[in-house]
Symmetry: C2
Subunit: 382 residues, 2 copies
């Protein structure tokens, strides 16, 4: 299948592009490379040394004989997007190409506006471009479990059947996102749902949990193919960040009480979920929602698991409960459904001691690259 991966230079996008290429799909990457620019602006670096995109792709070709087309540009530029689609003629589009950090969106007004305009306009452009030239193409859009917030009832996959005053309907699940970034994904979901309804487009919204891990079969083939791994206060996500903190002897930064429960998944499952989605496309006019995570953990429990794994490797790991920079419930009910991808064949890699060991070892290997000034959160929601 011809698959265009928008945001294919990023953490999930890069792993996905190589995985799909390895599975025999014809893959293109569209990326503006703005994430590398934001790293520079913020003065942060990923733990791992990531090569320029051209060199990455050349090495992939040298190793596997497989070519990946590269289109450098921004999907908020409609002319560029439109021409790229006409050139590549995708059968499926995987859209990772958004600003994806909650703290980044909360830095100040400019970052909130940048995040929402960038994400919403990029996705609107994509919907219009698909409508114009590729109405049968399947859009696989990355959403986030954070769209749901923490309601006191079970979280279903995108929709909920409500009985009310003796009548019944199945409606979009109510959203309570927790940052201007998460809000941008809610806006996207509403826009895509509408485009499917009026134009008959087919789309799958993957409400992804927090991704951890760094190695996939493909990115582990060669150091030039290595994936990024963020640990800083802006782009570093729980678990990956904890492992790096443990490796360098920095206390694990649990925000508040640590009772915040979230969905998690291994990056090896991210790439497989994308493949499952494109192999089982949504029907014309269908806006399908999958919750893409494999396990639920509280942040406090995760920290304890990393501490235990670190101790068994001889690392001295402390856990710090920082004042929470976010506004969120720190103790709450959380029970989210995730059966749709399992029903389509996902076999989860569950979080295990061995995975934690390997992540910790990876972090130890690159520990000299860590800038300790960038670990603590600097952005407050208040």
């Amino acid at each position: 299948m011809k698959v265009l991966v928008i945001g294919g230079d990023g953490y999930c996008g890069w792993a996905t592009a190589l995985y799909l290429s390895n599975q025999g799909h014809e893959v293109g990457i569209l990326d503006s490379l703005v994430r590398r620019h934001w790293d520079n602006e913020l003065g942060v670096q990923t733990l791992t040394p990531i090569a320029p995109i051209g060199q990455r792709l050349q090495r992939w070709k040298d190793l596997t004989g497989k070519s990946i087309d590269l289109f450098v540009g921004d999907i908020t530029n409609y002319e560029f997007l439109h021409k790229t689609l006409r050139k590549f003629e995708p059968q499926a589009i995987v859209h990772f190409g958004e600003q994806r950090s909650a703290p980044f969106s909360m830095v100040d007004r400019e970052h909130a506006v940048l995040t929402q305009v960038n994400n919403v306009v990029g996705t609107l452009n994509l919907l219009y471009a698909m409508r114009q030239d590729f109405p049968d193409c399947h859009l696989v859009k990355l959403g986030t479990m954070g769209e749901y917030g923490t309601p006191n009832i079970d979280i279903e996959e995108g929709y909920i059947t409500i009985e009310h005053n003796g009548r019944k309907d199945t409606l979009p699940y109510p959203k309570q996102p927790g940052s201007f970034y998460h809000l941008s994904k809610v806006h996207d979901s509403h826009n895509i749902h509408f485009a499917c309804k009026i134009w008959g487009l087919r789309a799958t919204d993957l409400n992804q949990g927090i991704v951890y891990g760094v190695l996939t079969d493909e990115t582990g083939m060669d150091e030039m193919l290595i994936n990024r791994l963020d640990y800083d206060g802006i782009f570093g996500t729980a678990l990956n960040r904890f492992c790096i903190q443990a490796a360098i002897g920095h206390p694990l930064t649990v925000y508040g009480k640590g009772g915040q429960t979230r969905g998690f998944l291994d990056i090896r499952d991210t790439v497989r979920c994308i493949e499952i989605a494109i192999s089982n496309p949504a029907a014309p006019g269908e806006f399908r929602v999958f919750n893409q995570f494999t396990e639920l953990f509280s942040i406090g429990d995760l920290a304890m698991m990393v501490k235990k794994a670190g101790n068994s490797m001889g690392l001295n790991v402390e856990v710090d409960h920082l004042a929470n920079p976010r506004v969120e419930l720190e103790e709450h009910y959380f029970n989210a459904k995730n059966t749709k991808l399992l029903d389509l064949g996902l076999e989860p890699h569950l979080l295990s001691d061995s995975l934690l060991d390997s992540l910790l070892n990876f972090a130890v290997k690159y520990q000299q690259r860590v800038d300790k000034q960038e670990i603590l959160p600097k952005v407050s929601w208040k």
Copy 2:
């Protein structure tokens, strides 16, 4: 009270600004005047001859002795907005300042993007400006009943209590908006809700129905104060448009079967609802939602009422069922609640024969200004 009316040069905004001024509030108008520009771009004109904003305000002062401050500029320009708020120091902000036409937003990609960026960024800027300098100011934001779509269960006011798998929570009412414009209002609602939660701002989201009528006590004082009345395929809304069509002998343009049921209200109730909202502010941190309409009608029923009123005045009125340019259910359940404003003292002006007579007479008076080329819908959702 010091009340800033953003979008105070528009249909609802102008009537509101004069009404609040007449009630003794200290009123400022902030408006970019872009709606007058869009009229020019689209080659359409309101039925009524509206005076330049400066002349309107001078006449208001001459007639009543009351001054209304004018700030011409765009709230998507943060520096302008920020300076205006510091200068005026509002205690309440009424925000009508958005692109408000569904067909306008559906013209093409550019209009969809313009609508969402204009509306979302303007409101984000307002939230940040309030947080910075006026955190206790009450935001009264115009939303739309169209945010809800047409669910098969009763529509509550902003929130719904859901029992699910033995647990219960009160969550934002699920949204199914029917155009990129309506979507922009859904995005706004989510953004404002979040800002109230994290910053403790106070806001009231008024999910307004379709407004009809042209005269309020204030705009009827003098021809220079006359309000706009749109009849064209882009900005003309049901009922106002039907009355003008009846007056000039054009068949009433019912889209599709006409079973589409919506909430309606008289513009004299719009201005009163705003006053009720600002006189009973939301609590700090509260995101309050009122459904602002007084009666439910189907489009087909409305057309029949206009036909009957027109016939009694000797007008020959025909009803045309056009192919529906929109994608929407044409027969559906619709039962929306609207008790919150009634509980706070709203005494509705119900749609009556006399109101229809006066609207029809008004339309007859200005019929020579109608451009018949602009009546039919030209924008398709497909």
